[in-house]
Symmetry: C3
Subunit: 470 residues, 3 copies
């Protein structure tokens, strides 16, 4: 006996009838707005090649570390789930997911998945052990159809623009294909890149030195001298901008910034390109480069995103066996007030510069980030992010940030995902939660409903478009 699956039209709205009525009205006005996805990790080759996705496990299980980390935490081996194990039968892996679907109760993954099942694939029974094969077959079958190829899904979900993330040593060949398709009229989807220089900015990144050599080749500059290194960045940034990029993206372990003199910077660069790099030098170089990158953003207009605070690869055995991005990155306590002062002291008063800050340490919302963003013209706050991209996390963000930063020092929602079909699911959750938050303000007579309606559209669409210059 199976159980019915359907998406309640009032899901995620407050249950208080006054608030729910207001939330419904606000949401009705924004539900169909196009999606602006200014920060994420989808694979540009999908949109370049437009090849069909393979099967249910390949689309929904293998790329989603939110999903397999939870299964792993309850003792399901990654090998059995097909993570880095081609020998695993995807149908069997999918069954393990189905048998353990109760583990996701109360989590955002559950909401995103149910949305994908019901909305994207039109399935009307719940996902559980008994329906595992039915799901697997139905999804896999649909994926083979043209309507489920990447470009068709992009269009179906009204994605106005999506940004992927590439390193300076990426040739952006997939983006070139997409832009050619745009130019020829073959496909109209707007897919842009973002400049993520961590592999050539972080001396502790795997292959840092060979990354610099590759950077030299691609830029025609000697990226192993400090002057050439800066010139190479400028050239690659300009190339990325030509390919549509409007932003850069910096994923540092801490928010440390520094403002070294030219001589100090040159000496430091010599040390961090040498044979032995100390942890202190690596940190100082990353810190210095954030300030340098802010300066380049002031020059070339690229919006700067900073998201510090993850302890990467916390599980050494897992990292050895399965590599990075397998659910073992853990947030840490993060200071912003002292860390950002060198950068903000230099560039924070520039109204023409946009720096978007993210955090994995929610204690900084009310204490540090909202006060900083509510003062410095250059600073805005990214949305609740990664671990906190949940209904509760989004409510905590609004609850703690709004009093001091207001809504207009935030930049709307972004999905930050590599799970393609979760994009519309995530934006839908964010819009519903924001409408619910606004509904409470209206119900408590702290705002007029027409103001909330304006804000709902701003939070769903306008703010992201403006902040990211899209």
């Amino acid at each position: 006996m199976t159980r019915p699956l359907s998406l309640n039209p009032d899901r995620l709205f407050p249950s208080d009838p006054t608030q729910r009525d207001i939330a419904r009205r606000l949401y009705a006005e924004v539900a169909e707005l196009p999606i602006i996805s200014p920060h994420g990790h989808t694979d540009p080759s999908w949109f370049a090649g437009n090849a069909a996705f393979g099967n249910a496990a390949e689309l929904l299980l293998h790329p989603d570390h939110y999903v397999f980390r939870m299964l792993y935490s309850q003792g399901v081996p990654l090998d059995a789930l097909g993570i880095r194990n081609k020998a695993a039968d995807p149908r069997e892996s999918w069954r393990l997911f189905a048998q353990n679907y109760h583990l996701f109760r109360g989590t955002p993954s559950r909401m995103w998945m149910d949305w994908v099942f019901a909305e994207a694939f039109g399935i009307d029974v719940q996902f559980e052990a008994a329906t595992s094969d039915l799901y697997y077959d139905l999804i896999t079958e649909k994926l083979a159809t043209d309507a489920f190829r990447p470009r068709a899904l992009f269009d179906r979900y009204r994605i106005e623009v999506i940004a992927t993330t590439e390193s300076p040593i990426d040739t952006l060949k997939h983006h070139a294909v997409i832009r050619a398709a745009n130019a020829s009229g073959e496909w109209g989807g707007r897919v842009i890149t973002a400049y993520r220089p961590d592999p050539v900015v972080d001396p502790e990144f795997e292959g840092f030195r060979s990354n610099l050599q590759r950077l030299s080749e691609l830029s025609g500059e000697d990226a192993l001298s400090y002057a050439g290194y800066l010139a190479a960045h400028r050239k690659r940034r300009a190339f990325f901008a030509e390919m549509g990029a409007t932003s850069t993206d910096h994923g540092h372990p801490t928010a440390a910034t520094a403002d070294l003199t030219a001589a100090e910077a040159e000496a430091l660069f010599a040390r961090i390109t040498g044979d032995q790099v100390s942890a202190a030098d690596a940190e100082l170089f990353r810190a210095h480069m954030l300030t340098v990158m802010a300066g380049m953003s002031l020059d070339d207009g690229l919006v700067m995103q900073i998201h510090p605070g993850a302890f990467r690869n916390h599980n050494p055995w897992l990292f050895d066996q399965y590599g990075r991005d397998k659910g073992a990155d853990i947030p840490t306590s993060t200071d912003y007030v002292h860390a950002l002062r060198p950068l903000l002291g230099k560039y924070g008063n520039e109204a023409g510069l946009t720096i978007i800050l993210f955090t994995l340490d929610e204690t900084s919302y009310a204490r540090e980030l909202a006060p900083l963003a509510g003062h410095y013209p250059a600073l805005k706050l990214g949305p609740a992010w990664w671990f906190h991209d949940s209904p509760e996390g989004m409510r905590r963000f609004r609850n703690q940030v709004t009093e001091t930063a207001g809504f207009y020092n935030t930049v709307g929602f972004n999905d930050d995902t590599r799970a393609f079909l979760s994009i519309p699911a995530r934006h839908d959750v964010a819009r519903r939660i924001d409408c619910g938050f606004l509904a409470q303000l209206v119900a408590e007579h702290r705002m007029e409903e027409w103001e909330a309606a304006e804000l709902a559209a701003d939070l769903s669409y306008n703010l992201a478009k403006a902040a990211y210059k899209l």
Copy 2:
């Protein structure tokens, strides 16, 4: 076309009908209670001279760093707002405020301002670009009338007592004028001072050494010797108490306290009054003086307020151009458990001593402050403060503090403002939020309604009066 402005009588109450009904009943009993304002920064010259305020911008924009920091964060230049710029046309500055009033949606400033507009000035259209001049003219006109002079407003809003904050090197001449007016029957308003010794306790304060010289003159003691310095404090505290003070106020960067021997203290004093003061010595002297001040409070009965945790003047360019208190103070992570131990180890068990602690780091509410205040007889907690003096901030405070400290280790509300007309607005917000919080406890059957009614009066009036000995 203008939009109507009115204050909904149910504003800030929970929208759940059960809770709202209870909140209404609780609030009705406390709405008209007099205002106890035991901690704030109004200017005593207002009440001494009773001169009319100049115009709308001068009253409501220029002194309110909550307002102009938000405008600045969105790119509005401070010069254009008339901050330290006499050349700015106040009507034009006011227009910039009006055009950007949407930035304040969801913030407490919006609620306070609307209260001032509707309640104090009787305006019935919303504030926006189209009504900017109407507002400016109407407010400026009313300010010229006797009913809007400081003493009349003080009486109109049932302020029972207000404390200002002065440094030990202030002569309190305005307070003397007010007390003479009290004595002669010219005016009955009770305006008292509070002893804020930071300028002569913090070796890093601007003009520290010359402040000590001035302290010597005013006290007749040699404040450049340690013994004379302590004697000068005692004399000035006694003078402040004569002028009505019931409390002292200490705004340190951290909560560090120390308990040095007489010899250590004397040697440290010699160093911090010398030519070069190290950061460590400055911090140690501030720490030591908190303990010394607690000892003096035990002797002379002045209630001691400590509010640490702001990184002052975070924006160096702004500080150079516009000076302090321009919205660039940012809270930092603050430890209390280790920091306060020297002081609490010495005086924490004194039931006759009252130390009121504030924080800008809300993570300490449940973890450190409520456990400390729920144990030490000398310790009580100040309300949600500064950045957190918002509906959400007040709810977080009650939510996180009450379980361990109860209500009776807190001291009611204080407004902490230099924006005079926001005082009744802020107290009204606090009373409404507290009534809403109590209503939830009643609605969840955790408390009887008669108990909530007692508490509503305690939180609105009695606790502040008792804690501050007013």
Copy 3:
């Protein structure tokens, strides 16, 4: 005139009617489930000897540091309450409690006490000064009856199993008596111990060296050599397991772990058993022993509990006068991500090992603990604990943990109390709060009601039973 006392059947449920209806239905299914109490501090001699409790103050005031710390914080002397003062008249102490009962408004103690008064003793008037003697007499009288002896109360409240906590140098003689009573059929109550080795693991514990000598005697190993020390632990763990223990319990000041080589460990052991122990060595030894204990748990199957983060005995005068556990332990900011890495790097991937983590620093819920427990197979999260074992604290726990760890990486509720009659009261609060939290998820259409019903039983009963192997 007295006021009526009764427990509202809807207490602690959300007041929103939709949520309340769901919460009622969920709670009805779990209200009568047996109590699993896998972590607490009741005295095994109660169940061994089954002697009657003495009087109201002795049962409800003297052992409850939640209660007397609040009274002390408001200036009531501990001597007058009979804390370590046999000269105090218990009836007079009880009157002080009654006169100050309003201090507990809004605290969990108030809810637990009212439950005990109304449910356990059947009292129908509220506790206040006027009813103090009535309460004292009635409670004291009932305590003299057989129905209020420890074993009868154990049975009355459907306690399926209770764990006490003993040190390795405890002989467990009371547990032996209880087990004999079980075996003979005299009494069926299941009372087990838990292995809490702090007195022989923490070099800074009072009497550490003599504790090691006692450990040698009890184990027949030379616990003053490192090899003998480890062997002694293994033997005592095995003995505790024979006496029913299924878990160990580690109450360290921080969460620091270390993984020393055998040679390093041996050298460290020599130092910490020497005459002078440095703070750094003491911390390193505690850190190392957590990893050692995890290894032993992998071998012998005992579940490992770690609860760091209390600054013990913060009040030196109070410690001198009244000793430990008098309400002066204060939580501190606690890092888990870096601190636990040595242990988790070594054993975190063991699906056969269960480590249950507690925290007094709620900032770690969403930032560190849920991400760690949502990844490592060996890790689960204990419930909101100690200071945070309140309705608000439990809601914060679910709100912040569920998004990333789900429900199934948590282990249900435990009461952690030495106040015997508060056990059923506390479990009732926890069940009500969890049902309310689940009701919100159902009301917001994030979960089906049948799933919530399954979860309500899991959170109330099944998860604790499974996690603790009971």
